[in-house]
Symmetry: C2
Subunit: 332 residues, 2 copies
């Protein structure tokens, strides 16, 4: 997704529902229609995994990176991490009587999200930092985890962890079954994602790259803790994504998956390496089963990226045409 | 090792020699004398890997972190990365005629390292940033790699990659054979280490945590590159180590290995988690085969850490007594 610098800042949540969603023995990529994007994926994997092929890539170098919001799970009507921040403001309000007269908190507590956000990046920054900093890393993990265990999507009513794309779960599993290491590289908060990415996506904490605030090692009650500070450390979005990849992974991926202009530099960086490369955009074309948006959306805008994908022959998933099923709950 | 903020800043090198040094089928920990430290290690591994034991730890949580300088390879008579910086100043001098009249470069180019370092942290910072920044990440990898391929230790004359501790190579292999993921968490430069840690230690780039300078994504000649900027990003030393661990790994280790006060917070952070924990200090006690130093050394000072290790019953390796062999080349 494409975010502003400040909206990007956000962080952890534990999840109970939605396990990785792919049973062994099932046909790989079962929720993908034949041809098109599916064929491109299967052909690429065959090329890099066939021993003796000039395009063979050793297992250690099979690095695949995935954006999260809009690529692995939904991002409408707003980033799920922002829902977390809104709920946290309500939970923290009793301890902050001054918020009654302070924007963006005052409007928010009256239920007027639109007025609260009228303050733009500054308002969003205040919301995120006031809800994501001040506690220890362990406390935040628990706060976010408890929240995610009950959080539901505002329009579908589903647990947020069921708002993941079934075809992408299958793709993650397919790549791992073919020797790939799958990483998440998201503009979302690294500590917001880590508590549930293993359960939901099969991606462990050490393979999650994201935005962060600064933390500080100190002693509290004689115990060493990491305290979360109200200061931006790193924004893992747009040109930040290749920087985050180099910092955390230290190798250039051979495959990259995104859905917005905020992923474009990650795809460019991936494409610019030698040997076989695979870049894919998820295009939100299904207003019935999911949401339809691209060039003019304020969330997940896909404009320059779509042009570049077409010009360079990258794979573009047409969600409506390429995916038999978007969410696992559709089969119910 | 314990470093100043500025000395910490340093970075990549490719290596040809010294493969991981442990043949399959060999007795594990063959270079360790029986009893003492070896027994403590073996007992801990047995406790956390025995199914049904109350101390059993699932594979995914078997995270072990290792300092590098002074823990996995030597750090005397100076950090090896600093040798790299000195050599780079010489290599870059023709393109910097102004260095002839500029400290610390002028003294260094006359061969007077001591005078060059009289400027303290500021001088060291100038040396490191002038040699580690300005190029792309790929260019730096090649520069450092080419250097490491021929660099030799100033007193032993050995390739630097042979200055690794054979017992620690065996320990890394032993832990991995028991389901651990082994990470390096070093005050040294992350990009200085990554090109050779896999070959030398069996630790791939994505499991290396270290100090860093900022990088910036941009286009050069139409190609996307990451440019290394002369600005400190993160100092992975002392209280920075738990921060680096949380950022890169996202889980608390259950075992930590260091050799100096700069590793103390990493050991404290590791020890403070629930369940079985293992903390080990390598104590440099062998002035004959290696170097003997601890409480008063400017490099790798081990003072507070030694007291805390003894008070808390952490394992302290007495290099002279516990290790049959320090370097692989001793057997020749």
């Amino acid at each position: 997704m494409k975010r502003n610098v400040v909206t990007t800042l956000a962080f952890p949540v534990l999840v109970t529902a939605a396990v990785a969603g792919v049973a062994w023995g099932e046909e790989p990529l079962a929720s993908w229609n034949e041809g098109g994007a599916k064929k491109a994926i299967v052909d690429f994997v065959a090329r890099v995994t066939t021993k003796g092929s000039p395009d063979f890539v050793p297992v250690a170098e099979r690095i695949a990176v995935f954006d999260n919001d809009g690529t692995l799970w939904a991002e409408q009507p707003m980033y799920f991490q922002f829902l977390f921040a809104l709920d946290r403001v309500k939970a923290l309000a009793p301890a902050h009587p001054e918020w009654k007269d302070q924007e963006p908190f005052a409007s928010l507590l009256k239920g007027d999200v639109k007025a609260a956000l009228a303050g733009g990046e500054r308002a969003v920054g205040a919301l995120l930092l006031s809800t994501h900093a001040g506690m220890t890393s362990e406390e935040f993990e628990k706060i976010a985890g408890d929240w995610m265990a009950t959080a539901r999507h505002p329009t579908t009513g589903r647990p947020l962890t069921e708002m993941v794309y079934q075809p992408m779960l299958e793709l993650l599993a397919y790549l791992r079954a073919n020797g790939f290491e799958t990483f998440i590289v998201s503009g979302g908060g690294i500590e917001f994602m880590r508590p549930w990415t293993e359960r939901v996506y099969g991606v462990p904490p050490e393979r999650v790259v994201g935005s962060s605030i600064k933390t500080k090692f100190e002693r509290r009650d004689g115990k060493p803790v990491l305290v979360r500070l109200p200061e931006i450390d790193f924004v893992d979005d747009g040109p930040g994504k290749p920087v985050g990849i180099q910092s955390h992974i230290g190798r250039r991926p051979i495959a990259a998956f995104g859905n917005s202009d905020g992923d474009l530099q990650m795809l460019q960086w991936t494409a610019a390496g030698p040997g076989p490369r695979f870049c894919l955009y998820v295009h939100h074309t299904d207003g019935g089963r999911e949401w339809a948006y691209d060039r003019t959306s304020s969330i997940g805008r896909l404009d320059k990226g779509l042009d570049e994908a077409r010009a360079r022959g990258w794979t573009v998933v047409d969600m409506k045409a390429d995916w038999k099923r978007i969410f696992a709950f559709e089969k119910e």
